[in-house]
Symmetry: C2
Subunit: 200 residues, 2 copies
């Protein structure tokens, strides 16, 4: 374990709250006093490290609160996706808004509010907006966790041998991934057939 990977790895520092208020109203887009931050900074050119149009709201656990987890909320805009990655720590998510597709190993789930997804240790995963609206989900996570790892070429090849995964997963093919993918003008995104559509 390496503490908060945001502090030492490819993600930005958490967004410590600027105040100690105990109630944060949701105004339809954000919470009182919680500043949305960029999802992560890059540092890798490995396929799968790319991501697009993702922001993070850290609701708790980023400002020294005595708790073993952090409570984050992620928003992925239409056309956006998180990086394809793996790590020892598990993920749990609860969808709050929109429609998404979630790749968990060789499975793909269509998700809607308030669906739950569990990502076991070391299983490659990716969150993809699958609709015309913002895809938003809560993601509480262990405070003490290992940093995300990109997939090896072999793992990626194995994953893409599954037709449903190949259809959904987003992997930028060019160098420069690991920072925000600027879209098809600068990166070839595989599986274009899985472009955002309204979720069934």
């Amino acid at each position: 374990m390496s503490g908060h990977p945001e502090d030492s790895s490819c993600e930005l520092p958490g967004a410590p709250s600027a105040d100690d208020r105990r109630h944060r109203q949701f105004d339809g887009a954000a919470w009182d006093g919680v500043t949305p931050r960029v999802y992560k900074l890059g540092g890798s050119s490995v396929p799968g490290a790319a991501w697009r149009d993702v922001v993070r709201h850290t609701l708790a656990g980023g400002a020294g609160e005595p708790m073993a987890f952090q409570l984050r909320y992620f928003e992925i805009e239409p056309g956006g996706y998180s990086s394809l990655e793996k790590h020892r720590h598990v993920h749990t998510i609860i969808v709050l808004h929109g429609a998404g597709r979630v790749v968990v190993g060789r499975e793909v789930f269509d998700v809607a509010p308030f669906d739950f997804v569990y990502v076991p240790p070391n299983v490659p995963h990716q969150f993809v907006n699958a609709g015309p609206a913002t895809f938003g989900f809560l993601c509480p996570v262990d405070a003490d966790r290992d940093p995300p790892q990109p997939l090896t070429g072999e793992e990626l090849h194995e994953l893409l041998s599954e037709p449903r995964v190949r259809e959904v997963v987003r992997v930028a093919e060019t160098a420069g991934s690991g920072i925000q993918d600027e879209g098809p003008e600068t990166h070839v995104v595989m599986a274009r057939s899985a472009a955002p559509t309204q979720s069934p």
Copy 2:
């Protein structure tokens, strides 16, 4: 710390999932394979230990998953409330449904979807349904946590000296609290003026 207080104290054991599915669809009332459980069992006759019409859904962390927290969802029916209690571990909640009032020390918050509330260590707190619909909220919590404690008489007196708290908080006055409050026929509930109404 004493591990999972449900295992050693006043709460029922968690609801381990009967399967290892990674996606649990929400059907409007519950999640695939997650059985709602009674909130807790009693064991105290101290005022404040009473509760009414609360169920718990344990979504993750109750079946041996390698994670430092549990992800639970609570539902409180109209007229219902959780026990008034305190403990060292913090609470974070995100409202998913309905209207509630949350007592956090000497403050009272009116909450709606998707409001966030943080309860700091050792601060007395209570969750009260404040509307005609089910009040539902997510409550991720440290897996390793101390058991809830009722308030001392002095703490209760101090808390009730705050008019807004006195108006909202529910404290059964008779013996037998600590188990499910069967309603006004069997327990005198203070602050009846705070009976469920539609939240503003």
